[in-house]
Symmetry: C2
Subunit: 275 residues, 2 copies
């Protein structure tokens, strides 16, 4: 593992690191914020999974999360959204290929060689983080934005017992019924009969999440029709899922929305992480 940069930030350290990933077969970059408390021992970890086109950097610089994580004494991990580099397949569209891993393991050529973001986030990266940093891996929670909200919710519901709480900003909630989902699943998995169960609405219908859930979406989200919030809300209510879906008046899909409600989300996770 190589340290790309470290910056003192809110009394802690915002680092960026690179490592050779066995799972993706590429170098992968991630950012990790450690609060001051990490100098004295392991701290809880909150994951932030980013959306389409993002790298590790967008949320690290624009979400304003470090202020609240420092206040709560928890670490933040910002992974990349896909494998990258020469030899890694890509597509001219912003929503397929590099920057658009969708947090699934591809099975179809040419994507199947490198696009293994599910295994990378679920297995390889947490193992590396637990070995290299002062993190209490028994205290993990997860959040994300848009495609990353899809990732956070599907991971939280599929990896039972892993995360103490889950939240999302403007998440893609029903990708099997959306152009943000069908296109990518068809490319990465091929025929619909072979699609995995990586759809938050389907997972909610199948049992939901054993812990608190918080979802924020803006009423003026310019991608509203792609998110599937209505279908998910139905499943959420039917399942009597512990948690809340909040529709925030006048907000859109941007980081201005994310930063506005970041304090709420970090405090929400801190409640679960420190319990």
């Amino acid at each position: 593992m190589e340290t790309i940069s470290t910056n003192t930030c809110f009394g802690g350290v915002q680092g960026v690191y690179k490592h050779a990933s066995d799972v993706t077969g590429t170098d992968m970059t991630f950012a990790l914020f450690l609060p001051a408390e990490a100098q004295d021992g392991p701290v809880p970890l909150l994951w932030f999974l980013s959306g389409l086109t993002c790298t590790h950097e967008n949320a690290m610089t624009k979400a304003g999360a470090q202020a609240w994580a420092a206040e709560q004494g928890i670490a933040l991990c910002f992974p990349d959204t896909s494998p990258r580099g020469e030899g890694v397949p890509d597509d001219d569209a912003y929503d397929l290929g590099q920057g658009a891993g969708f947090y699934i393991d591809a099975t179809q050529a040419p994507w199947d060689k490198h696009f293994k973001m599910w295994s990378y986030i679920a297995d390889e990266l947490p193992a590396l983080l637990g070995a290299e940093f002062p993190l209490d891996m028994d205290r993990q929670s997860i959040t994300g934005h848009s495609m990353g909200g899809h990732g956070a919710l599907t991971m939280a519901m599929a990896l039972k017992g892993r995360f103490r709480s889950v939240s999302a900003f403007s998440p893609i909630l029903n990708p099997t019924q959306s152009d943000w989902g069908r296109k990518q699943f068809a490319a990465y998995w091929g025929d619909e009969a072979n699609w995995g169960s990586h759809d938050a609405t389907l997972l909610m219908q199948g049992g939901g999440f054993d812990g608190p859930m918080l979802i924020d979406t803006g009423t003026d989200d310019q991608f509203w029709d792609l998110l599937g919030t209505d279908a998910f809300a139905t499943a959420f209510a039917s399942q009597r899922q512990q948690g809340q879906i909040r529709l925030q008046q006048g907000y859109d899909h941007s980081y201005f929305f994310i930063s506005t409600f970041m304090e709420d989300h970090v405090a929400f996770h801190a409640d679960a992480l420190w319990r």
Copy 2:
């Protein structure tokens, strides 16, 4: 004036606007955050002047200022750092030409036609803001980063009575004795005999600022030798200037430093603006 974008943010509106500037002879872009209180009447205004290579966008997205401005009910203006576009001279170096206006009015060709950032920030842009937005222009304060800290301090000391408080992050404090200053002043103003009095240390020696001043610089600033903090501190103490110079242990020149102390700076200005 043209609206480029608006995003709801912390209950207010983060806008980006473009207008034809008479002073620079170009289109100029700026960002303005209006808190929710602006819907009910004029609010105070805090200027943030950015550093080398920045546009209106860097601080708008990375400084985390809107959270605190919303809490205090004050507006934020993020101007660009130079004129830009085809026909505007530039230099291959990052620290001269476009992105490096240094908040002065150039007198030497080829810069003298467009590089008039002093007049733009001191006169033209405030007149436009006062006419177009619900701002109380009798309540203004100013801050900035690096080159923008130089701009904030020189404006505050030269434009007597304009600003109620001044602060800066990692400011260039003695540009007439630094490679961040001498190079640009020589290009924009020519022979040293013709340089204007745009040096915070010289202005402090000449009388200082009639109000509170707050300066934060990191002890691990990678550009420490270019900032002239020592010379300014001498003048600050000699002048018995109301205010404080804080050296923050372990912090560097980055936006991770700025965002860490932004809450302090906005609260500091709010105290003066609401008095």
